[in-house]
Symmetry: none
Subunit: 83 residues, 4 copies
């Protein structure tokens, strides 16, 4: 056993290692993304605009539901608080 003060050291170590491994992967992917932005910039694209496009495309699924909410919202706000 690798118990230290009532803590299973090897279990803890396993969690930590797995998380660190995944964080490295994540960092690697983030680096890839940065690379693509750099390449695009080198080819004359405006990265700021690209980021806006990405943001909009990410939002759109939500908006399907959200548009309905807003319609409802305005009906309520103008008349009565409760629907």
């Amino acid at each position: 056993m690798t118990e230290v003060g009532g803590i299973a050291g090897d279990v803890l170590r396993s969690y930590i290692d797995r998380i660190e491994r995944l964080e490295e992967e994540k960092a690697g992917i983030a680096a890839n993304i940065r690379e693509i932005f750099a390449e695009a910039k080198g080819n004359g694209f405006d990265t700021k605009v690209m980021r806006q496009i990405l943001k909009i495309r990410k939002m759109e699924p939500h908006d399907v539901a959200e548009q309905d909410e807003l319609l409802e919202l305005y009906k309520r706000a103008l008349g009565m608080p409760l629907g």
Copy 2:
């Protein structure tokens, strides 16, 4: 002097105290806001809708500038990257 290890203790204490004071004020105001929501809820208003209204009203000033950006954005995205 209240120098400790080369640090002006009284100056540091002053900064810390001022920040803590302001944070208390801030917390107090946050509490007031919560109170108003609670009161509104007690009078039959839907707090979720209220929050949405507040969000929209906060966004609108930005949108004045942002609408133009988006128009430009889509022009670029569909045609050429550089304006």
Copy 3:
């Protein structure tokens, strides 16, 4: 109460206005806090450490000790230097 198109709209508006006012105050105070950090930084203080200090002062002494102990314990369990 809950009359259509009448009083309730005004009540709602009142709540919204009061909340917006308080949110402005809150934002102003947050700005003041940032200012103080900036000033402190300009005078050679480490703002990151200042934030740690503020956090510790906000915690119960008992909890501070407990967190420290747990951290030591985990470090030992992982064979890390105890600092």
Copy 4:
């Protein structure tokens, strides 16, 4: 190059697609990390302390020591207990 309505749009689309793909991967990994924390928590580990451990392991030992010293120094300057 920079032709209107032609090739460049496709190039942009390609960049956008590649980035979106990578962002999805990244999100997936983040989900995995959250899962591990959840599992660890389920087994009685304190995730907050685990995060501290991860942060410390990511820092240079020298910086860790420096931060600690500075914290001690500020505490002494303020007359706080040294923990």
